[in-house]
């Protein structure tokens, strides 16, 4: 019964979305207040109905109602409760319902929080947002309805959830990513509404920025969670594979980063307006490309568990209609957006243009590499792969350039700047960075440039951000400046924190790629071996049963010299329902290094295959990501946006960084 209510609510939400597309748009055009005002309540009701539908589906999962097709295929009565709940979005239908729930949620926030927006503009924003909602409601109802029943008799138990997804890191990875993807739909709606009005001004920049910032924060957390999961779950400590689906989340992240920088320029200086609009359109375009790649399985990938070409065609249609519509509108209206600000060639504005070019071209490179196998097959009849080695080579130079110019650009004043003055202020950080890089070079074995360059950039970014923040305190005695430091706007703190976070992440990536030590061998129980100065001892292996899996667990003692650091328990698990094994690596986390141990198969001579790794600076990767998200949150909580129109009750105020 509850299922039918959910299904009905979903259909009703679809109709309300259609209504919300048409009526406010006409109202805004004709300047009829009643027709415009209807958008707000419609958005809120739409959200309430979708939330009801989502709750109904969750109920079906929690109570293991196997008469529903999705529950039957993706759940099992023996699954722990946490994974029954997260299983709601661990499948195609449920994840699309989550997607549309977030679309309507952002719409409702804009409706509630957008009191300061001009009524006509608000009506148009909500109308565009409802177009997105209606398209995805249609997609769900016509191609992937989660409320489909199975023919009687109802099977006794379900097929279970992919064991790889039964993990806390991955359970919460999709919601964050979706919040990010869909958050960009708000930027898109603002951009299209502005194009319909034919007006973009500083206030627009201020309205759109909190949504972009929130979306970017969620994307950062979502990507970091996914990468962290890959690190500890897949069994060899890789953290990024340039998999099509990873790229699908990375491209919107890059574009969102560009967008949130260029919207500052719009807000402060009233230039770069049409470019910012274009970025807002492209950012959401990439989000939908992400949905398309994940959901259609057009590019073979890990996440292909949800692949289905027919749905892909529908999604491609949505993507094409929205992108072509928005870009046509852009072509027609962009000319009307006159920039007024004037600035010198050396200025913060120019620096942010450089930032935008580097980020956008980097995203373009990722995009080209991701779709190239498809292009090559279609047009050149070549069946080929584009993988990690290509991306490492083609993508990294842009990040290198970005890291190099970032501290300088961040300190340049607006309008007209003297490069010499900024460079003088940054002499200290530069010297420090060179010293760190040289030290790393001297201490490493081998001649690889990767590690030293990475650490150089990291030190340059972190200390450059610190100097940037400190320079904001002006002149005066140390004590006075320290006091001013505390009273600086949160946006300043956010900026420096996020930039430093980027540095930390770069350090982690460089350290892990350059100085990773690996050891693969057969170990007899009781035997010890050496790994990068540590001693590992396999004490024994035992087998037992977990809640819905069987475990083979090794006991490994990690020691340095005679000092025992801790005992590690790497596991192999076997999930009988899915007939699938997983590895659970045991990791000793440290600030400067991780020790990562995986147990393999029993060998004929009574020993066990073991893989162990020494991973320097591993946790810096995710620590940096947390700092970046925290920096974003600090910026978001800045008073300017809290009081700003359109962002007052924005959902992301004070969202913690993780």
């Amino acid at each position: 019964m509850i299922t039918e209510f959910g299904h009905f609510a979903l259909i009703l939400a679809f109709f309300i979305a259609c209504f919300q597309v048409i009526v406010p748009l006409i109202g805004a055009h004709k300047r009829w207040p009643g027709w415009m005002a209807v958008a707000g309540p419609a958005a809120i009701i739409q959200f309430a109905l979708t939330a009801g539908a989502f709750a109904a589906l969750m109920w079906a999962f929690v109570t293991s109602d196997f008469s529903l097709r999705v529950v039957l295929l993706n759940s099992h009565s023996a699954k722990p409760m946490l994974y029954k709940i997260t299983g709601v979005w661990g499948n195609h239908e449920g994840s699309m319902l989550l997607w549309v729930l977030i679309v309507t949620m952002f719409g409702a926030f804009a409706a509630l929080g957008g009191a300061g927006l001009p009524p006509g503009f608000k009506a148009r924003v909500l109308s565009v947002q409802a177009m997105i909602g209606a398209a995805f409601f249609g997609f769900i109802l016509f191609t992937s309805n989660p409320f489909m029943r199975v023919p009687l008799p109802v099977p006794f138990d379900g097929h279970g959830l992919n064991p790889l997804l039964q993990d806390p890191g991955l359970a919460f990875h999709p919601p964050f990513l979706y919040l990010g993807y869909v958050g960009l739909s708000m930027s898109f709606s603002f951009a299209v509404a502005a194009l319909i009005e034919g007006r973009v001004d500083a206030a627009w920049g201020r309205w759109v920025r909190p949504y972009t910032l929130a979306a970017w924060i969620f994307l950062t957390i979502g990507i970091a969670l996914g990468s962290w999961w890959a690190y500890y779950e897949l069994g060899w400590g890789g953290f990024w594979f340039w998999d099509p689906v990873e790229n699908a989340s990375f491209m919107p992240w890059l574009i969102a980063a560009a967008l949130l920088h260029s919207s500052i320029v719009v807000e402060k200086r009233d230039v770069l307006k049409s470019w910012t609009i274009l970025l807002a359109i492209i950012a959401f375009g990439f989000s939908m490309v992400g949905a398309f790649i994940t959901r259609s399985g057009v590019l073979t990938s890990v996440h292909a568990f949800a692949s289905d070409p027919a749905r892909g065609v529908f999604l491609l249609g949505i993507l094409a209609i929205f992108m072509m519509g928005a870009l046509t509108l852009f072509a027609a209206r962009a000319g009307a957006m006159q920039a007024r600000g004037v600035f010198g060639l050396i200025s913060r504005e120019s620096a942010l243009v450089v930032n935008n070019i580097l980020l956008a071209v980097a995203a373009f490179v990722v995009f080209t590499g991701t779709i190239w196998p498809l292009v090559a097959e279609l047009f050149f009849e070549r069946k080929l792969s584009v993988g990690e080695p290509f991306f490492n080579l083609a993508f990294t130079p842009f990040m290198l350039a970005l890291g190099l110019v970032l501290p300088v650009g961040a300190m340049l004043p607006w309008k007209r700047a003297k490069l010499g003055r900024v460079l003088r202020a940054l002499r200290g950080p530069f010297a420090l960075a060179v010293a760190v890089g040289a030290l790393a070079y001297a201490m490493q074995n081998g001649r690889s440039a990767l590690g030293p360059v990475g650490l150089f950039l990291a030190a340059w970014l972190v200390s450059g951000s610190a100097v940037d923040l400190w320079s904001r305190t002006g002149r005066g005695a140390l004590r006075v400046r320290a006091q001013r430091l505390r009273r600086l706007p949160r946006a300043d703190w956010g900026k420096s924190t996020a930039h430093a976070g980027l540095g930390i992440t770069i350090a982690g990536i460089a350290g892990m790629m350059a100085w990773n030590v690996e050891d693969i061998r057969v170990v007899q129980p009781g035997e010890s071996f050496d790994l990068a100065g540590f001693t590992l001892t396999l004490d024994g292996v035992r087998k037992f049963d977990g809640p819905n899996y069987r475990v083979t667990q090794a006991e490994v003692t990690l020691a340095k010299g005679t000092h025992v650091i801790r005992t590690l328990y790497p596991e192999k698990r076997f999930y009988p329902v899915a007939g699938m094994p997983t590895t659970e690596a045991a990791i000793d986390n440290g600030v400067m290094r991780d020790i990562y141990v995986v147990i393999g198969d029993p060998q004929a001579d009574g020993g066990w295959a073991m893989r162990s790794y020494y991973k320097p600076l591993a946790n810096w990767i995710w620590g940096g990501a947390i700092l970046m998200a925290l920096g974003g949150a600090l910026s978001l909580s800045d008073r300017r946006y809290r009081v700003a129109a359109g962002a007052r009750k924005a959902p992301m105020d004070g969202v913690p960084a993780e």
Binding site: L164, A202, A203, R206, G235, W236, F241, D243, R269, D270, V271, G297, T300, S301, V302, A304, F305, S307, R340, G341, V342, F343, G344, L345, S350, V353, V354, V361, F364, V365, T368, W372, A376, F379, F380, K383, L384, S385, V386, G387, E388, P389, F390, L393, A394, F395, P397, F398, I520, R521, F574, G579, M580, P581, G600, D601, A609, R640, V643, A644
Partner: protein, 150 residues
């Protein structure tokens, strides 16, 4: 079919990436084998190299690479041997020849294009109408002030 492949890939339980018995005695040769393996794709898997892959076929390929190296092939000859058998699909780093030139040049070309356009734009803005009102107009300032008061 694709789903089946993925499932088979994940189910190839008894093998876990590089096994102790695969490792060559000569560390220099082994290091070269690892390097080559990282650039070769496991054909039945998702986007995974044979060095990381758990699939049976990846193991066969790893052993094949090592066989060639032990037989005295240099890195290029070993890779060519695999490519001749399995097609360029196995290469994770596509060759820059032919139409692939486009792929490799895409980034640099885009950078030149974007940089060029930006430079023209920046030059125009920096010499733009001197005396034009910079920043916000009075009307907008008033509006902004109103927003800030709320």
């Amino acid at each position: 079919m694709r789903r089946l492949i993925v499932i088979l890939c994940l189910m190839a339980a008894p093998v876990w990436a590089v096994q102790p018995d695969e490792i060559l005695d000569d560390p220099a040769l082994e290091a070269r084998a690892r390097d080559i393996s990282k650039g070769l794709r496991c054909l039945v898997c998702r986007n995974e190299n044979i060095d990381d892959s758990n699939a049976e076929l990846a193991r066969d390929l790893r052993l094949l690479v090592r066989e060639r190296l032990v037989a005295g092939d240099d890195d290029k000859a070993a890779v060519d041997f695999i490519v001749a058998r399995y097609g360029e699909y196995v290469l994770l780093k596509p060759n820059a020849g032919g139409s692939n030139l486009l792929l490799w040049a895409a980034g640099p070309l885009m950078l030149l294009l974007g940089g060029g356009i930006a430079l023209i734009y920046l030059r125009r803005r920096s010499v733009a109408e001197e005396g034009a009102p910079a920043g916000l107009s009075d009307e907008e300032k008033a509006r902004l002030a109103e927003i800030m008061r709320e």
